[in-house]
Symmetry: C2
Subunit: 124 residues, 2 copies
DNA sequence: CAGGATCCTAATCGATACTG
DNA sequence: CAGTATCGATTAGGATCCTG
């Protein structure tokens, strides 16, 4: 990080609009956050229990990103041990059906894989 | 890659089913491949033009993954310069509405961002 | 409890060169 | 044309320690 290299970099970012929008769900845990938040507001610690394999560092990063994008809202509660509650915004709610659809297909593909024992390529 | 490290790794993968299904769209280009394939079958080179910023190496990797999962089909055409045609399977087609929904919300969030000049946190 | 800081691993990707 | 191989750069992610 820092070397100019010899790469031109004259072209900023052609990037199709699709890719830009899909960054909404970038990272392995974004969909999970939205998913578990779809059941109602949850606190930081609760989300960590919902998604056991996520580290605090990454969960924080994802929550910040989603907040900045307007997908979730963050509210600091004035409780004695300070707690923070996260919830989906209206636009965030609209993401839920999309995720649900992907999960549906994903589960059907898993079933499908059961019936076809690794056909791979060149099934001789 | 190769060092055993001292990490236990005794637990295989608790992983919520959601995460497993979302790996369908893992990687930056998977959604793009499905998206551009939704307009009909396309050849390798055509996809590279559709998605300019993807390298041949990565495009190949994504196509192979999606094929293995049963989302797309690969057909080698017996033409003089050999060509390969990719197309969505029936299950792959079902992914299109989901991606479309995400893009919809993504575009609305972008509009929303226009109206709210970086509220950030502590808009003091 | 919520999350910032540091360090390090692993996955993803792009560029380039080469092959059937 | 449709890849494959290798290399370097970027990035997501995990673990641990520490703070308001």
């Amino acid at each position: 990080m820092g070397l100019p290299l010899r790469r031109s970099k004259v072209e900023p970012p052609p990037v199709c609009p699709l890719t830009e929008c899909m960054t909404l769900l970038r990272g392995a845990w974004c969909p999970n956050v939205i998913w578990y938040l779809s059941g109602g507001p949850r606190r930081f610690g609760e989300l960590r229990v919902d998604i056991p394999r996520v580290s605090a560092r990454v969960l924080t990063a994802r929550l910040r990103e989603l907040e900045a994008k307007g997908v979730i809202a963050r509210e600091v509660l004035a409780t004695s041990p300070p707690s923070v509650e996260y919830s989906l915004t209206e636009l965030g709610e609209e993401l839920v059906p999309a995720i649900r659809a992907i999960v549906r297909v994903g589960m059907r593909l898993n079933e499908h894989a059961q019936h076809c024992p690794t056909p791979r390529r060149k099934a001789a």
